[in-house]
Amino acid sequence: MKSRGYFVSLYLAARAIRRGNRGTLVLTILIIALVVVLMNFLSMIIGGVVYAYNQQMITYQYGDLTIEPKDKKTVIENADSLTHRLEQVPGVTGVSSRFSTGVTITNPKNGKFLSQSLTAFDPDDEKTVTQYNRKLVDGDFLSKGDTGQILIGVLIAGNTDEADDKVPSLGGVKVGDMVDVAYGNGVVKTYRVKGIFETEGVLIDSSAFISRKEMDSVMGTEGEATAVLVKGTSSDNAAELKNTLLEYGVQEPIKTWSEKGKGILGDAINSFQLLNRIMTVVSLVVASVVVFIITFINIINRRKQIGILKAIGIRPQIIVGSYLLQVMFLCSCGAAVGVLMLYGISGILTLNPIKFPMGYIQPIIDYSGLAFSMVCLYVVSMISGYIPAWQVAEEEILDAMRG
């Protein structure tokens, strides 16, 4: 009888859905679909932001691993030998030794100046780790023996009209223009802008680079580095590569790209995720209220029918079961439509990416989050459907039959 009870629940639910009001059905499915979208949209954008940020860190700022000076040291003293050793480690595909120092860059044409970090690298080594050489919008990448030449980001170069600048700039520097660089040791040198790059990331496009040879000649930094960037076969395996380097006896602190990047965007992501959680809770409340109202109205309209079913010998549990199956059907359809809508939105935003400070963002669907939101939606919907169904199904037969 129990399995027949399930069958009768299904029998009644299927016919109620098939012969019920189509408009209400479609509207309910649409509302649940929009709830699914609402619950997942922000996390989809956050996913895209995190991915874009991570990619930029790996591709331009830190490589897969960054080796830093030991505690209380400002530089890695034996950087050349470390670089050489690192190149021999299996799994390492590129190593670039960098030296960064604070400078003031001035555009002599208009007197605009910027105080910021200037980084030096061996251009050939750098190509094995980062991709600045592929992001030039004008001019050329640095060469190994370059002196008197500087590579700058598009945001430093800026525009003649200050209103067009997103951040303070040199006011419209072009390839071939000369800029003055004042070092911390008092040396002031004039450099020709050899190339301008654009990665779409605000932090990255505000950088400036010279060759290692040039930096060494000005600052006397031969064999020293403020950081050594390491690239492996896959950024996903950065932690494994870190362990390998430790096994190979690297004494300096090694940080993976994710360890390096935590601080900068971490707080923003945490705030985003808090907002996302709030939105998820609000969406779930909306979903439960919608399902409750729909089931309640549906059941109130069918009180008499429920009374009839009870009168002819159908148990309240079976009647409640039929309503829960209807709720499950609505949820499943709503969830399916919601997922399709999410894919649609994702597709549209992939074709027309949203611009963020770290560049253009392509949304990424978080499948574990999506699955969790579905489970939550089902649970709240079932509870919201169960309560009114049980209330009416437990009524006295004659009271229910009076409608």
Partner: protein, 234 residues
């Protein structure tokens, strides 16, 4: 078949007790077509609802086929409770047809049989047979609101008969029908009673229905109208 002893039903309207039945005792034999008649508010529908386990008495006992059904309640084991008893032994025909609007004519008739656990094909075939008996074999796939009142009441009768219940209870089944349709329904009940030997207990307030009943129980003010039963009760 049915033995009723000192049956009472008191409704509560707020804090006021309103007695609907004030101690009814009666018996109905197997195969009888019994009419319950009386003026409005006399308690005839209340009596039918109590006999049909749609409501619970305030006191008194009802024995159906030897089972004390007044002691049954829904918190008992699923196979011993009132719902199960209704499903297995009783059939109902209501004044307003009481059909399920989401189901077709055939499905409405088949649903009590399906609930009994019979194979689906057998249920549909039994439903189709009963619908043929009530003259609705061409309307099986219609939804109930596509039928006339008389047709809907015949569907309701078919549903009451599909499980071949021991007793069929009918609560003013002709109240919403014209004379011609009423006559059709009453003749149908009479035929079922004669041919299948089913016990039928029907509430009515129309004097001309009396000719169809084997016996009439008159009720007045919540008590049996003994004087009228002796005079007109056959």
């Amino acid at each position: 078949m049915i033995e009723v002893e000192n049956l009472k039903k008191i409704y509560l309207l707020g804090k006021i007790e309103v007695p609907a039945l004030r101690g009814v005792s009666l018996s109905i034999q197997k195969g009888e077509f019994v009419g319950i008649m009386g003026p409005s508010g006399s308690g005839k529908s209340t009596l039918l609802h109590l006999l049909g386990l749609l409501d619970t008495p305030s006191s008194g006992t009802i024995l159906i086929g030897g089972t004390d059904v007044s002691a049954l309640h829904d918190s008992m084991l699923p196979h011993e409770d009132r719902t199960h008893f209704r499903l297995m032994h009783l059939g109902y025909v209501f004044q307003d047809y009481a059909l399920v609007t989401d189901l077709t004519v055939l499905e409405n008739v088949a649903i009590p049989a399906i609930m009994q656990g019979k194979p689906i094909d057998d249920c549909y075939s039994a439903a189709a047979n009963v619908l043929k008996k009530v003259g609705l074999e061409k309307r099986v796939d219609h939804l109930v609101y596509e039928l006339s009142g008389g047709e809907q009441q015949r569907v309701s009768i078919a549903r009451a008969l599909v499980n071949t219940p021991t007793i069929v209870f009918a609560d003013e089944p002709c109240a919403n029908l014209d004379t011609e349709n009423s006559r059709t329904i009453l003749e149908l009940f009479q035929a079922v009673n004669r041919e299948l030997g089913q016990t039928i207990v029907m509430v009515s307030h129309e004097p001309w229905h009396m000719e169809y009943f084997d016996r009439i129980i008159f009720i007045r003010d919540g008590l049996l109208d003994v004087e009228r039963i002796e005079k007109e009760g056959k």
